[in-house]
């Protein structure tokens, strides 16, 4: 089993248009490194100076990794990682 990574439209140029790709790793950082080895350039769009870029949100099983452990967040087989452009906002 691998970890499914869902890619937003804006970054699918790196994945040949694929909405979701599989990747491996014990932490989010390793996972992104593994992704970049097969989809070069993706890491640079997600990470800047060792941290997640400001306008990128990454969710582990729908939970914002900034509240979990950032790039050091542990990930495991069967997890789903979702990458989204950041849009904050109220909705009421």
């Amino acid at each position: 089993m691998a970890i499914e990574v869902r890619i937003p439209t804006i970054l699918r140029t790196f994945t040949d248009g694929a909405k979701a790709v599989d990747a491996k790793g014990a932490t989010l950082e390793e996972l992104i490194g593994d992704l970049d080895s097969r989809h070069p350039g993706l890491k640079d769009r997600l990470v800047d100076k060792g941290a997640l870029r400001r306008f990128v949100n990454v969710y582990l099983n729908d939970e914002d990794v900034r509240f979990l452990g950032g790039l050091e967040t542990p990930v495991a087989d069967g997890d789903t990682v979702t990458v989204l452009p950041a849009v904050a906002g109220g909705s009421r």
Partner: protein
């Protein structure tokens, strides 16, 4: 229960267990039924608190006009209070909110100004701020930045939960104005060691976000990330699936944003089970499903319902 008037009956809503959706005896999930408020949503609390604070501050006098950016529930709550207290109400709402909400607002006597769908609630806020600047005599209560919003939950929702469930370990609610999470969160943090405050925010399709510039993301003035333990981002599909699950397994007919909160509650429940920890997880049923019937959320397959919901604001 007896009250002097409808306004006096706001709050004191039931907290009900979900024996079928709770994973075990040690990890239990509870629903705070905010649809049992006078106009059918949790917004009756902040609406009343904001109006009464403005009255105390001398900003609101009978005959005054209230202006508010709202995608529905807050407007409906304000419309009810405004009618009973003799104020005129103008609501600014995105044009892609459900028809029931518009009808309800008009029924209680509110006037509606539409803002472009593409900008969502953020655009409604911008339009309302512009109108307020042009009409200085109007009173904008501004739920996104009015401390009376979070105080309503600090003084009513929070104490009710702790009284009914002293063993509470988690509180989960939708993230909109952030008032519910800030108010209940602060109240519980002062009284319950290690309580977890969990936000569930809607993740809309790209039709809703498409024309937005991500750099312009709007963060409500009330928001303080330090109150939160974690944040869930819930897709329309997951919110719909959980809304239907709540209805089919526990009999609770709730709006779609409640499905998102339940998704977060179940996520935290799974983590508690894995960690071998006991948990009493309270989540908010913000409103009933009535106002969303026309969206088709409850009919046909999930995929069909999700497609129909595409481009609509459901929280």
């Amino acid at each position: 229960m007896r009250f002097d008037s409808l306004i006096d009956s706001v709050g004191r809503t039931p907290l009900v267990g979900l024996p079928r959706l709770s994973p075990s005896q040690d990890v239990r999930i509870w629903a705070k039924l905010e649809d049992r408020n006078p106009t059918g949503s949790i917004k009756d609390r902040p609406a009343l608190w904001m109006i009464e604070q403005a009255e105390k501050d001398g900003l609101l006098r009978p005959g005054c006009t209230i202006l508010e950016p709202t995608s529905g529930n807050t407007g409906i709550s304000l419309a009810m209070s405004a009618r009973l207290k003799g104020y005129r109400l103008i609501c600014v709402m995105p044009e892609n909110t459900s028809d029931e909400r518009r009808q309800l607002l008009r029924m209680w006597g509110a006037e509606i100004i539409s803002s472009p769908a593409a900008g969502g609630s953020n655009e409604a806020v911008r339009v309302a701020k512009g109108l307020a600047a042009e009409n200085p005599e109007w009173v904008m209560l501004y739920q996104y930045g009015n401390p009376a919003n979070w105080r309503s939950h600090y003084e009513s929702t929070g104490p009710e939960i702790l009284e009914d469930l002293p063993s509470v370990t988690h509180f989960v609610a939708g993230l909109g104005t952030t008032g519910t999470l800030m108010g209940v969160g602060r109240f519980l943090r002062e009284r319950v060691p290690d309580v977890k405050i969990v936000a569930a925010e809607p993740r809309y399709g790209e039709l809703v976000y498409g024309l937005r510039n991500v750099d312009e993301g709007f963060i409500p003035e009330l928001y303080d990330p330090d109150v939160l333990t974690t944040r869930y981002s819930v897709s329309s599909g997951d919110a719909l699936r959980r809304t239907r699950e709540l209805l089919s397994t526990e009999g609770i007919f709730a709006g779609v944003s409640t499905g998102a909160a339940l998704h977060g509650a179940l996520g935290m429940a799974t983590k508690a089970v894995k960690a071998g920890e006991r948990a009493d997880i309270v989540f908010v049923v913000a409103d009933g499903g009535w106002k969303y019937l026309s969206t088709g959320a409850y009919e046909g397959t999930l995929d069909e319902a999700e497609e129909r919901l595409e481009g609509q604001l459901w929280a």
